[in-house]
Amino acid sequence: MALIADYLVQGGQMLLILLLAPLLTGWVRALKARLLRRRGPSLLQPYRDLLKLLRKEVVLADSASWLFRVAPYLIFAAIWVAAALVPTFASGLPFSWTADLIAIVALLGTARFFLALAGLDVGTSFGGIGASREMMIASLAEPAMLMMVFTLSLLAGTTELSSVARFMLTANVGLRVSLALALMALMIVAIAENARIPVDNPATHLELTMVHEAMVLEYSGRHLALIELAASLKLLLYLSLLGCIFAPWGMATAGESLTAYLFGVASYLVKLALGGFLLALFETSIAKMRVFRVDQFLSAALMLGLLGALLLFVSRSL
């Protein structure tokens, strides 16, 4: 019985993040509009957009191959699985050991690989520019992320996220320089990976500086809906990751009572709302960066991550 309940909670988490992801995107958009003194769309607008796109027919370029049609499903599946493996409101769920943090990073890499290929598939210059820049950004963001994983793993003695979250809740963590460095690295990576200002602009089209939007320019209908949903899921994943590692308070442990779970969900929602608010605030207060400045921004993340790991190699108390 307890086993079935555990599986139900796991399934519930998968569904929860799928349903929450567009809301988070809508929340960030609405906040950004408010901060710019616009009225902005309703919080539910992303759901309406997705439904509209799903019901429309797909206009497929003549030169598109089977890969172009398969890629959206693969990208969506990879990101959904990755997001479902990050503890959100409860740690230690039945499948939490399926993949550790390194594997989650690599799953995001799988999604990126297919998205970049889809960008190249139709054979237009916009798709190419997006794919090539995305891979340049990823070539720095992914190592930075892995360095952050190293730092965490040296502290917690594991790369498995549930155990990391539980370790962070224990009293002997305290304030550490290495964790601060890791947090900064993860935030920079999160901004870059989610195509946010100052690396990329999620609201722009027809601009030569765009990266993510350039890759998906040829997509329409249900394919576009899946890719948009995957992008929302990715944003949710990074905010959940920040919450689970650096603010695991309120998270339930598998097998606890229903009230603990409810408390976990409530605290998770608060964390997401706060994360979205901080993101919107940051995005409105900074200008977009030139593409060839992005590498310096991301190299800083890589160096911060490496420094954090090296500090721990020097002394476990730093």
């Binding site: 027919e57 890969l67 969506f76 699985v81 139709v122 237009t124 891979m135 990823a138």
Partner: protein, 676 residues
């Protein structure tokens, strides 16, 4: 003859039979259909060799040895089959079998079969004999045989000037490597000349001599495997050979070189006596991995790109081996077992996906006659199956889950995470740096294979040849899909491979190996302990498949499944000219700017004529190869200068020659006196 040495003698017999097959090939060269005959016999022999090696590894009996009264009279010829050689025999013969199957179709297109057929089985035989050799003489003989037969295969299309240069450079580097190994064996054998491996294993060297031997072995095997800075010949020679031979050279022969390194350093030298051994190998591996992939990103030639990627993967394997040496130096055998398992797993993986990618390139080459990516494109339409196989290989080599490349890199990362327990400070700093380099090379590899697959197979054809491409034959497709299936299987069932590697690791790691994985729940991989980390490729695949299929079914059932074809959108300005697409050069431009401006001193020059001027605009990207420019070019220059000077010696009078001889004699005698 007793039963225990049966498998070894059959293995030997088959290796010799492969040699005879090479000789036989010479006699039937003129007959039609001889190519198919030779390749099918090679295929059968490789499959039998593979089966025997697999049976030996899985049954894990004691090592088997055999001495034949051949060769040097006081030494004889020693052979031995143990877990380590059995594992590498599997790698070699799996690669050999698949390459032979591919060649059943591909070999029909060969322009000069008489330059390939005799050497191909001989090359396979040479590699098998290296793995079975149990004394220095046999080892070096087989090693040279392997080098020379592969050199002959590199020179198969010798009329192309680039190939002649590649062959020459390969020959020079192969001779250098063998010289280093010869000296290393001289040190190992000691003053008594105990050249058989059993004697070498029993004798311990002084720390200084052992270190010298390690450096010589690194030079000898590193030059064959493609360790930076000894890699210069590899990206020239591997692409020059016919594609199935390129697959063997890159996927398999580099592994034989790694076998040489592991056999000598981990088995014959015994315990690492100094902690810096691991540090040296680790640093070389890290540099090799990043430089290799950066070189690869700058290439437009598909085969050369793959060859540079071999350099990268050799670096990753050396990172694992370096970690293992470091752990062994501090008597941490459990951690060393993890590092060794990671390295050997990557050896197996790389032999799978690199062979697959080279075979795919061979299919592209026969279909279009092109290796230059700037003239390819859109091949996914005429060659859907080749494209699918190549895509699986590309995803596997980019270390993407749930395929196999990810598992071995994950294991390497887990091994790096154990390094804080090492007592040496320098290693403590080196290990996370090597981790950063490994992460960087993995991310860059993904960029590189988006480029390789995207520019070659996606988009629109960039030349008439690419537009006329056709799907390759069934033999070649079968060969590629066998490898692709193995890439997937090793990725989702990594526990079985790790268990298979257990006895190999135990043999070279003082008996310590990873805990058995097959009893893990859900076939997970948990190399250290459950709390440390675990990974389950099978579940990741199932979850991904389930979510993708569920999404597709729901959308098609309840939303819309309609499709309308139309011209590309491209922000309203689609251009029918395929030259408006992104090219290999433009795809690599951001990375060239970010990394290349430091490493390769990349400079871009745009010549834009003023408005009204009818001349074409011109773009040029200049790269410098630091290893060649600062390493090899000065050496070449010095050799030329010295030999030009020495040339004068040829025009002396007899009187001067005699005084030269006299002077040399006096000098040598003086030297002798001083030495005493």
């Amino acid at each position: 003859m007793n039963l225990t040495i049966m498998p070894l003698s059959i293995l030997l017999g088959l290796s010799v039979a492969l040699l005879t097959l090479g000789l036989y090939a010479i006699t039937v060269l003129r007959r039609s259909g001889c190519s198919r005959q030779i390749y099918s016999i090679s295929l059968v022999m490789c499959v039998i060799l593979l089966g025997l090696a697999l049976a030996h590894l899985l049954s894990t009996p004691a090592p088997v040895t055999l001495t034949l009264p051949l060769g040097l009279p006081w030494l004889g010829v020693h052979f031995r089959l143990d877990a380590l050689s059995a594992f590498f025999l599997i790698v070699v013969n799996l690669g050999g079998a698949v390459a032979s199957l591919f060649a059943l179709g591909y070999g029909q297109h060969e322009r000069a079969p008489e330059r390939v057929l005799p050497f191909y089985p001989a090359f396979l035989a040479g590699m098998n004999l290296v793995l079975l050799a149990d004394d220095a003489f046999t080892f070096l003989f087989a090693w040279e045989f392997m080098s020379l037969s592969s050199w002959a295969l590199v020179m198969a299309h010798h009329r192309e000037p680039a190939n002649a240069r590649a062959g020459y450079l390969y020959l020079v580097m192969a001779c250098f490597g063998t010289l280093a190994l010869l000296l290393a064996f001289g040190l190992l054998a000691g003053p008594n000349g105990g050249y058989d491996f059993a004697t070498i294993r029993a004798d311990a060297l002084t720390p200084g001599l052992a270190a010298l031997a390690l450096i010589l072995v690194l030079l000898g095997t590193g030059s064959k495997a493609g360790l930076v800075p000894l890699h210069v010949w590899l990206p020239l020679a591997h692409p020059a050979a016919p594609s199935h031979v390129s697959a063997l050279m890159s996927g398999v022969m580099t592994k034989v070189a790694l076998y040489g390194f592991i056999r000598i350093v981990f088995d014959l030298l015994g315990e690492p006596v100094a902690w810096w051994w691991g540090g040296l190998v680790l640093a070389l591996g890290g540099i090799t991995a990043v430089l290799g992939v950066l070189y690869a990103l700058m290439q437009h030639d598909l085969k050369r790109l793959l060859a540079y990627h071999t350099v990268e993967n050799i670096g990753i394997i050396f990172i694992g081996l370096g970690l293992a040496l470091a752990f062994q130096g501090s008597q941490m055998y459990a951690s060393a077992a993890l590092a060794l398992t990671a390295a050997l797993f990557h050896v197996f993986n790389h032999s799978l996906f690199k062979s697959l990618l080279f075979l795919g390139t061979g299919a592209v080459l026969t279909a279009t006659g092109e290796r230059d990516m700037e003239r390819l494109g859109g091949l996914i339409h005429p060659m859907p199956w080749t494209a699918l196989a190549f895509l699986i290989g590309a995803a596997a080599i980019s270390a993407l889950p749930p395929l196999n490349g990810f598992v071995s890199e994950w294991l390497t990362f887990q091994a790096i995470l154990l390094t804080p327990e090492l007592p040496q400070w320098l290693l403590k700093f080196l290990a996370p740096t090597a981790g950063a380099l490994l992460a960087l090379s993995a991310a860059l590899a993904a960029a590189c294979f988006v480029k390789a697959f995207g520019i070659t197979f996606l988009g629109r054809p960039r030349s008439p040849d690419a537009a006329r491409a056709y799907e390759t034959d069934r033999y070649s497709l079968t060969a590629m899909f066998i490898l692709a299936a193995l890439c997937l299987l090793a990725g989702i069932l990594p526990g079985l491979v790790v268990d298979g590697l257990g006895p190999v690791v135990g043999l070279i790691n003082g008996g310590a190996q990873l805990p058995a994985q097959h009893s893990q729940p859900w076939l997970s991989l948990a190399p250290v302990a459950d709390v440390k980390a675990s990974y389950n490729g099978l579940l990741v695949l199932l979850f991904m498949g389930f979510s993708a299929v569920l999404a597709a079914m729901l959308i098609h059932r309840f939303a819309s499944g309609r499709i309308r074809r139309g011209p590309a959108w491209d922000c309203g300005f689609p251009d029918a000219n395929p030259a408006t697409q992104y090219t290999a050069g433009s795809f690599a431009q951001p990375i060239r700017r970010v990394f290349g401006s430091v490493v390769f001193q990349a400079r871009e020059q745009v010549m834009m004529p003023p408005p009204g001027d009818g001349r074409a605009a011109h773009f040029e990207a200049k790269l410098r190869d630091p290893v060649w420019d600062y390493g090899y070019a000065p050496i070449t220059q010095a050799v030329i200068t010295i030999s030009t000077r020495a040339n004068h010696l040829q025009y002396l009078t007899i009187r001067r020659y005699l005084s030269l001889v006299f002077g040399a004699l006096v000098l040598l005698l003086l030297g002798m006196v001083l030495w005493r």
